[in-house]
Each structure stands twice: as structure tokens, then as C-alpha cells.
Point group: C2
């Protein structure tokens, strides 16, 4: 189309410079190549992000790129994996211009340096619909060392990294147009730029009995873990770590705690482990606070307990895309 | 949303049954797991298909599913890889109903049996835009055995599998509403259901010096191969294999031959090789006709020659998505 770069020119200009790994074959082949690594398994995840669903049209392009990459890296982190690279399938609406693409590619480039990985392959096409990105991230774990969702056992403690509820509050601030002040900046930053807990993830190998990343909402995601592990998970609401900014904004009512526990987009690691001492060591190695929020019991389902021990009824445990 | 299955119900009903490989972890984890295979490399490719761009809204859902999977398998085939599995990121518009999903999943299930692979993971979300699928396919090749685009050398022959131009003619028939008759059925079938040449691909290991799959158009794709291999590729138009159905529809004029050589969606393997005898053996093992269409020379670029040896000027060598 006149005035538009061709698909190949676009790949050459913006994406080939991101293909730093030799296995990316400079994005000039049908596939990328991952050489055999003795003693390691490969873990793979894919996530699609859609304009208006997973990010806002007015979000900065570099943040959109970084969020797409980091949500995938967060999945790798929760499995104890080290990132090996990623593939990007990009469907671009007509309104996307070179300024957008430049910022988008710059965001990816900065995160590649930050997390030590390379673009390995991709696909770029035009769409009559909203901007849609599908990233597939590949990571390596020592053979047999992937931390699964299925290993939680009665008696294990339940833990979560970082703070919970920030991103949900940041999104709400953006949606109601009240995005001013230092606390708001912090919360919106937590929505726009997840921090994949890669160092914690690798430190949790052999320590966590089960883990996942919190994306749909803490209680919803722990519900998934409980279901796959065939156990019951009990969380004490007052123990859920909430940032100072979130507490300043929402207070400390039971409702505020439920809101944090059911908001999405946290991208922290929730996990279970038999040894609290080992968890504390892993938290130190991982460079992020780790908080014990509950316990694993025999049974099924999840429960959120108030300070008096009563169960708090949850209307919804988290976010569903439908 | 009322009356809609939740994301999890949808995955459990339609997609979990496709996750036959243990490494898919029944689609209940953050990632899938590919165990280490001694002596093999992994090749990975991703392709997005968008309604109205890569398939038509009225295409049967099972064909859409199969085409999405097969275009990725065709990339693996061209690299000499054996499919290991695939991940599916699916963005569903509101109009998609259970009848669509059932047919879509049935198509995938049938192709999984046909090609011996499993769904390994995925992501399902709602979109306000057109139906968008991104498939990431993973395959294995013996270590160091991937057939790249970069290995063509002067003196090699240039070959292509199957017949060229059918899918482009099938799409044109659909677009002009003249889709009646046995020849039309054949050509439309070639557009809707590519045949990834997996057996040929594995047979070409150690035989082909370079290969790719023909998706943008034969001349365009050979142009990519020539560029990456830093050689010149010369194709004789009269040698390009065209099906009886295509010849019946379009005749044998030079224009018809150029149209075939520049149509897209063929999903055949174009390759170069030093030994014609070895190619013929590989073609037998691959169960598909292989035709020598030209030669590799020193230099750069591509040329399409008429029967009298004159170069046929190409206005466009193939399809660009922009």
C-alpha cells in the first residue's frame, strides 16, 4: 500500500534488530532453531493481548510491548524457568504508524536486555480489527524441574510474592480518569508494567510444591491451583500483602481486602511449599518480598477468611474473559 | 456473559480433549512442557490468521482450523522437521457460537490424528474485532539437520513439490462467485486445505541445500531464498507444474503461467539441491511429485524465463500483507 512499508521492510527495520540470538536466523527463515541443551526441558506458553481488552488504546506503545512480553515471562517465572526467547505474531490495524512501531520495538528491545532474551521469530500482518499481539515465550528448566500447579499437599503453606491488588486499582484509576498523584502513578505503573519474578521463580525450584502466576485474580488463580492439586486452599484476608499506595487509596476495610484478592493483572507468583525456612531463603535470593497468606488443607475449593475466622463469601474470585 | 460458556468451560469442553500429549498437562498449567530429546534440535514457527484477511467469514470452521494448523505444519515440513505439537491463541468475536467451536475443534482433532501431534497449550479470549488465530507449532529435527533458506549454491537445481497456482485460482473463484464444477471444487479445496509436505520434508534432510514453503507466491518465496542464500535463481515458466484443473480453467498462455508463479497459498516446498538423483528418491519417499523448475546461479535476484529464453517481467512476485 502506498506510504506503508512492506511487511518485509517492516520486519527488517523494526524486528530484525531484536533477533539477537543466532537461533532466530535473523528472522529470515521459516522457523527459528533452538539447539539441544543437555539436561534441560523446555517450557512454552502463549498469550494474546488485544487492544481494548488487555490494554487501552491510549497506553504508551512501549508499555503495550513490554506488558505483552512480561505477562508471558511471568508464566515462565512461575514455572521456575529461565527465558530462552519469544516469538511475536502481530496483527496491525491501519492506524498504526511508524512512531508507534518505533516505540513498540524500543520497548521490546529494552526488555530483552533487562531479561536477557531474544526475539526468535514472528509473523506480521494487517488486520481490519484492533491491534492484536500473540507472544509465545520459551524457557528452559533443569530436566524434571518445572514447578507445576499440581504439587500442593495438605500441610503446605500458601505464599505470594510482592503486593496484590495494585494493578486492578491502577486500571480502575485510568478508567475513571483520576490518575493524578504519586500513589496513582505507582498503581498505574503496576497495571502497565508487570514485574515478572524470574529470579524468585528459579529460586523456588525444589522449594515450591506448586506455583502459578496471578493474572486472573489471587483467589481465582489459587482456585485453579487447588483444583489441579486436588486440595483445599484457605487464605487469611488480613495477610494478603497490599502496598502502601493501595492502602492509602482504598483503606483497610474487609471490602478493600476482597477487592485486592479478586483483582487481576498482578503477575506475582502464588505458590505452596512445605518448608517456610526454605521459602524465606528463596525470597531473599529472588529479591522480592514473599508473604505467607494461608495454608493447604485436605478437601477442595478455596476459602477467604476474615480476621474473626468467618469465611468471606466471594461473588467472583477473579476476572473471566467472557 | 449470560448464555456464554466461561473461558475455562470453553477450554475444558473443546480444547482439553485435544491436549493428548502428557506435556500439555491437560491445559491446566501456566505452560506446557517439552522434555529433552537427546540429539534433536527444536524448530518453532508462529503464524496468525485473521478473518477477512487469511480466510473468508463463510469458510467452514473446520477448514479454518485445519488451514491455520497446516500453514504452520508446512513451515515445519520445509525445514525437515517432525511436528511435536502446537499452541493456539484464539481471539473470539461475540458472534462465535458453540456450533462453530464444535466444528473448529473437530477439524483440529482430525488433523492432529492425521499428522500425529497434540495441542500443547493456548490462550482463549474475547475480541471486539475479527476472529484471529495465532498458532505456534514446534517440531524436532536431528541436531544440526534443519534445512535452512541459506544453503543454495550455484549449480544446484531448483525444485518444487506438487502443483503451483491452484490455491490462488481457488480463492479467485470464491471471490467472483463462480465456484461450481469438479475443477472448481479441486481448486477451492487447495485454497482451503493446504497439504503440508511433512514426509517430503524429512526425506529432504541431507538432500536439499535450502528450502522454504511457498506461501507468498512461488517467485516471491524463491526471491527470499535467493536473497538469504546470496545467489541468483532462474526459473523456466513452462516447467512450473500446474494441475489439470488449473490448466482447464486458465489455459497455458504465458500470462496464466505468470499468474500461477505469483499466486500465494500454495504451501508446497520449494527447494534447491545439488543431486537430482537424490531428489527423485526423496520425492518417492515423500509421496508427492517433485519437479525441477530451474537452476541456481551466481549473482542475485530471481528471473522467470519464457520458452524462448527471454526474461518475463514480473510486476509483483507474490502477495504482501500490506
Amino acid at each position: 500500500m502506498a506510504g506503508k512499508p512492506s511487511e518485509f521492510a517492516l520486519i527488517a527495520k523494526y524486528f530484525a534488530p531484536l533477533a539477537s540470538d543466532p537461533g532466530a536466523l535473523a528472522l529470515t527463515d521459516d522457523t527459528c532453531l533452538l539447539e539441544h541443551y543437555a539436561g534441560s526441558d523446555l517450557v512454552v506458553t502463549t498469550d494474546a493481548l488485544i487492544e481494548g481488552v488487555h490494554f487501552l488504546s491510549e497506553d504508551p506503545p512501549n508499555c503495550i510491548a513490554c506488558k505483552a512480553l512480561r505477562t508471558n515471562l511471568s508464566d515462565l517465572a512461575a514455572k521456575g524457568a529461565t527465558p530462552a526467547g519469544y516469538l511475536l505474531a502481530l496483527a496491525l490495524p491501519g492506524k498504526i504508524d511508524t512512531a508507534f512501531l518505533e516505540a513498540f520495538a524500543r520497548g521490546l528491545g529494552e526488555d530483552q536486555k533487562r531479561y536477557g532474551l531474544s526475539l526468535l521469530g514472528g509473523d506480521t500482518t494487517a488486520t481490519p480489527g484492533p491491534l492484536t499481539l500473540a507472544i509465545t515465550a520459551l524457557g528452559r528448566v533443569p530436566a524434571g524441574g518445572m514447578i507445576r500447579r499440581s504439587g500442593a499437599r495438605p500441610g503446605d503453606g500458601v505464599y505470594v510474592s510482592g503486593t496484590i491488588g495494585d494493578a486492578g486499582a491502577g486500571l480502575a484509576l485510568l478508567q475513571c480518569g483520576q490518575a493524578a498523584g504519586r500513589d496513582a502513578d505507582f498503581l498505574i505503573g503496576r497495571y502497565r508494567l508487570p514485574q515478572p519474578r524470574l529470579e524468585l521463580g528459579t529460586a523456588l525450584r525444589g522449594v515450591a510444591s506448586a506455583a502459578l502466576d496471578v493474572s486472573d485474580g489471587l483467589m481465582a488463580d489459587l482456585g485453579h491451583l487447588a483444583e489441579v492439586s486436588q486440595v483445599r486452599i484457605v487464605v487469611e484476608a488480613a495477610r494478603i500483602p497490599r502496598s502502601a499506595a493501595l492502602q492509602a487509596l482504598q483503606g483497610n476495610s474487609p471490602e478493600a481486602m476482597v477487592r485486592a484478592a479478586t483483582a487481576g493483572d498482578d503477575y506475582e507468583i502464588a505458590f505452596t511449599a512445605p518448608s517456610e525456612a526454605a521459602v524465606l531463603e528463596a525470597g531473599k535470593a529472588g529479591g522480592v518480598a514473599v508473604t505467607r497468606i494461608g495454608r493447604v488443607e485436605a478437601g477442595q475449593g478455596i476459602a477467604l477468611l476474615a480476621s474473626d475466622g468467618r469465611e468471606i463469601p466471594l461473588i467472583k474470585a477473579g476476572y473471566s474473559h467472557f
